[in-house]
Every structure is written in C-alpha cells, then in structure tokens.
Symmetry: C2
Subunit: 330 residues, 2 copies
Amino acid sequence: MNTKVYRLIAVLGLMSNIDVALAEEPIQPIAPVKEINLAQVELGKKLYFDPRLSKSGFISCNSCHNLSMGGTDNLKTSIGDHWQRGPINAPTVLNSSLNVAQFWDGRADSLKAQAGGPIANPGEMGFTHQLAVDVLASIPQYRIEFNQVFGTDTITIDHVTTAIAEFEKTLVTPNSRFDQWLLGNQDALTSKELSGYQLFKSSGCIACHNGEGVGGNSFQVMGIVEPYQAKSPAEGLIAVTGKDADRFRFKVPTLRNVEMTYPYFHDGEAETLTEAVDVMGRLQLGKKFTDQENAQIVAFLKTLTGDQPKFQLPILPPSTENTLQPRPFE
Amino acid sequence: MNTKVYRLIAVLGLMSNIDVALAEEPIQPIAPVKEINLAQVELGKKLYFDPRLSKSGFISCNSCHNLSMGGTDNLKTSIGDHWQRGPINAPTVLNSSLNVAQFWDGRADSLKAQAGGPIANPGEMGFTHQLAVDVLASIPQYRIEFNQVFGTDTITIDHVTTAIAEFEKTLVTPNSRFDQWLLGNQDALTSKELSGYQLFKSSGCIACHNGEGVGGNSFQVMGIVEPYQAKSPAEGLIAVTGKDADRFRFKVPTLRNVEMTYPYFHDGEAETLTEAVDVMGRLQLGKKFTDQENAQIVAFLKTLTGDQPKFQLPILPPSTENTLQPRPFE
C-alpha cells in the first residue's frame, strides 16, 4: 500500500475511535452554534449590554452575567437596584441554552422567558417591561434595528427578549480540553485529570452532572444523604410546582467553565472548587473524598473551561431628548 | 496633457486645499494612535474591565466610563460603592489623552495619576491600592502577564495605573464627519451643520472649545457673564490651587462625541444638547441663541461623533483560592 492509503486507514481508525469514545462517555462535547438568526443576535447583544433596560440606567444583563467573567458576577449573591442584596447566586449564562429550564428553580422554560425576569424584578433591574420598551422606542437607531430584525415599527417586550435569547444561544463554549479529549485527542488531558474524570464517574457525580452541559438537565434535591444547611431562603422547584417533594430541589448547575463561575451552589456559599467537591461528595453521595481524590476531581473540572465567547464590545445608540431619564436615586 | 497628469494636478490641488483648511481652522482632526505599548494596552484593557479592583467586586472603570456608551455612564452623577451618589458627572474617557489634565478640577496631571483615584475613593470603588494589588497578585495569569509586560514578579499600583493609562491612550475617536470635512471631504457636512460650525466660531464658543479635543485644553469659570446656579458642591480648580480666582473654574470638557456623553456640565444638570447650548450661550457668552441657531449648533456638534474604539470584550483570568473575596455588603 502507498502512503496515502496508510493515511486513510489511520484517519478511519481515529474516527471510529472517536465514535466509540463518544458513544461510551456520559458527557458529550459542546457543539458549536450552527443555526442562528444573526440579525437578532447583533440586536440582542446590544440589549444585553444596555443598562437603560434598568430603572437606574446602571445595571445591564452583563452586570450580573458578566461575559468577561464566565457569565457570572462571581459574587455570592448579586447586587440589584439601590445595591439590594439578591437572594440567590447568579447562574452562568454560558451554555444556558443547554439547560432544561432557566433559574435555579426552573421557573422559566426558555431563555426568552428568563430574559424578561430581571428587567421587571424590583430587586434586580427594578424597571417595568413597558418603560424598558418605551426607552428603546425613543431611540431612532434602535427603532430602525428592531424594524429590520422584526419587520414592525412597534417594539414589544417579546421582541426584546427574543433578541436577547438569540444572543444568549451563541454563548456556548466548545473546545474545552475535555472536549478535545472526547473528540479523540488523547494528549489533551494529564493523567491526573483523567484520574479525576474516572473518579467523577465511579463516585456517582456523573449521575447528575452529565450530558453536553455536564449538568443543567435535571432537578435534584440539595442534601440527599445529609441535609444542606442553606443560608439562603430559596427553596427551589417547590416555588414552581407547589409540591413538598420539590422542596430544596434545584436545577443541577452546569459544570462547564466551573473554574470561572465561583462561588458555588445556589447560595454561593462554597467559595472554592475544593470546598464544593467536598460538600457535594458528603451531602449528595455520602462519600468523603481524600485530599488526593478531591484534587484529582478539581483538576478534571478545570478541563471543562471552553472557548469563551469572542465578540466586539457593542456600541449602544445614544438616547434622545425624548428618552425617559434613568432614575438611579429615586 | 494626458489623463494621468490631469489627475496628478487634481490631487495636488486637493492636498493644498486640505493644508489651507487645516491651517485656518481652530479645530484639528483627531490623529489615530501611532505609538503605543501594545502589551501594556492588552493588560490595561483587562484591568479596565475588572471589577475586582473594587471592594465590592462589582464596579470596574468601565462601570462609570462605559465604552459602549461614549465612555461615560450617562448619569447626572455616578453610582459608587453601596450605591453612593457621586458628587460630579463622570467625564468621558474617550480622547482623555488629549486633555490638559484629568478630572473636572484637573487634580490629576496624567491618565496614570487619574487611574488610581477611583480605586481608592471610598465613594467610588471603595478599595485600597494595596488590596487591589493583592487581588491581582493572587491570580497566576495576571502575575504572568504583569511579568511579561513589566519584567518583574512584584506587581505594584504603579504598574496597574501605567497599563490602564496606556489602554486609555487608545481610546481616541478619529474619523468623525467633522474631521472628514476638515480633511477635505466637502460633502461630509450638510449646509445646516456648516452653518452651525460658523455660528460656533462667530459666537465665541470656539474660544474655549478648540484644538484636537474641541475642549479639554484649558480651565474656565463656569458662569462668566451670568452666574451658574450649581446644584453640585464641586468648586473646581480652587480645590487644587487654593486660589479664590479658581472658584468655579472647571476644565472645559471635550465636545468630541458629545452626542453620546449626555447629560452635560460638571453637575450633569443639562439633559440635552439643546439645553446645554442655550445655557452656555447665555452664561458664558451673554448671547441668547434663537431656536434656529441652537439647532444649527446642535447639528454641528453631532458631527463630532467619531469612530468608537473597537475591540473584543476582554476575558478576565479567574480568581484562585488565595484571592481576597469581594465584600459587597460590608
């Protein structure tokens, strides 16, 4: 056989190895975005960064879901209008399109449904949907762009959240070292990281943290083996279903980019991955990891950091004489 | 003569027209950035967007000098740590390298001297230089980058402000329609805008708003002909010099991108350009502009919006177990 044929066989061999590996592993690589409404994305990106969707003119989506910082604010609980202390840890917006539902209690069944929440939450952006829409409608450049994207002169909150959600769909993070390994690059992980992954599977972490998002696809009780001493009043899914069985049942967070999304848990009480792994092991699995085991799992978790979304900081169209003024100190 | 020679003569004619125009006009086009330390710029860009330089972990340079919004927060006065109400309007960071000094009272003689101010101001970012440096030094990716940029293992506030200032030097906005006109494109302005510019010169606005920055190069008393009824306690240059003659003497703000940097004046009390032009005419020049004159000047001012800085949103290196936690609610 000549060299070309050898190469072909080698490639086929690699491909089938990948297929086997993917089929066997309970975590799947993040797929890059393939179908998207680019016009909505570009509009949604502006809206995501626009603090005029808040009463104060100071808080944007990006304030608490900061795309420079893993799509979070890296605070235990977020800061809202008038510096109010939020009740819960801001989940990352990265890969949120992979979640079964949005918010820790899953009360929004889509990115679009989620996007309207903080705008009108008195403890977050403190505005109303109507006033937010009025602000946008007073800005000619926005009116033109909404018209181009949605084909209507009348801006609605539905348009606003549709565009923001479309932008958020682009915020996936493929190409992590772990995904490179899943896709056949055996050199992508160190032996310590691989040991961590084996332990992550054999200990049972994988039961909840699996799939493309390594979590985000189910609700589970926080404190299965041992109760969790929560400092937060949040009670999880019961707020949505009203069922007692759903008390302290929260959406399992994605572990994608978990190195960047500290602090951890719905109350943000675990400051480090070491602490989070230790608490999860004990409370959810009845397992006390040794220091070495913990370090291996943490090493594995850090391989889940993918390519962060890359885009130009959007430039926002200026307000006009007709734009409602922000009211930060009222 | 052949076509080529005709073309050459036409080009030479155009060039000499430009030279004459530039020599005669009291405003010069903004020069694009030519000499810069790119390594410092890239580090400084991260620092500019890093809220970990504040006590709360929530406020970055970009919070009040938002590069999506003309380098300002578009608020009368800014929001500081714990939602404190700032005493003065945040000046734009755009083209601030052209200013004779920084802050409204000119108390910083360089961008570098300015950059350290808000970090340690209890009413702004509420941190200390030492703690800010400690945070950065706890983050390996920052340590490596500072080492590459400054050649030392020891991060200092001097390095931090040097890098931020170098980034800020890139935030110039060339290529406004007015600059295109200055550079010889006679179609760049409408007749209304040109009338506004003529009026801007003949009425005396140009006496203070001139040069590359259309302002920013001198200090002037606010309220020369008529006293200004300020709502802000700020007294201007007197805070720096101690001289009575400098009471209410403020740095003349740049009018570059003024369409985006509302509201206006050191106390942010003028919400619109129309109002600002009216007040300036009366108080500084003893002149009441007609509605038509005002509209012409406003039309001219809107031609000063240049190319906004274009760059990718920086991705910040994550904190570690050794990083001081932010303290937003203490």
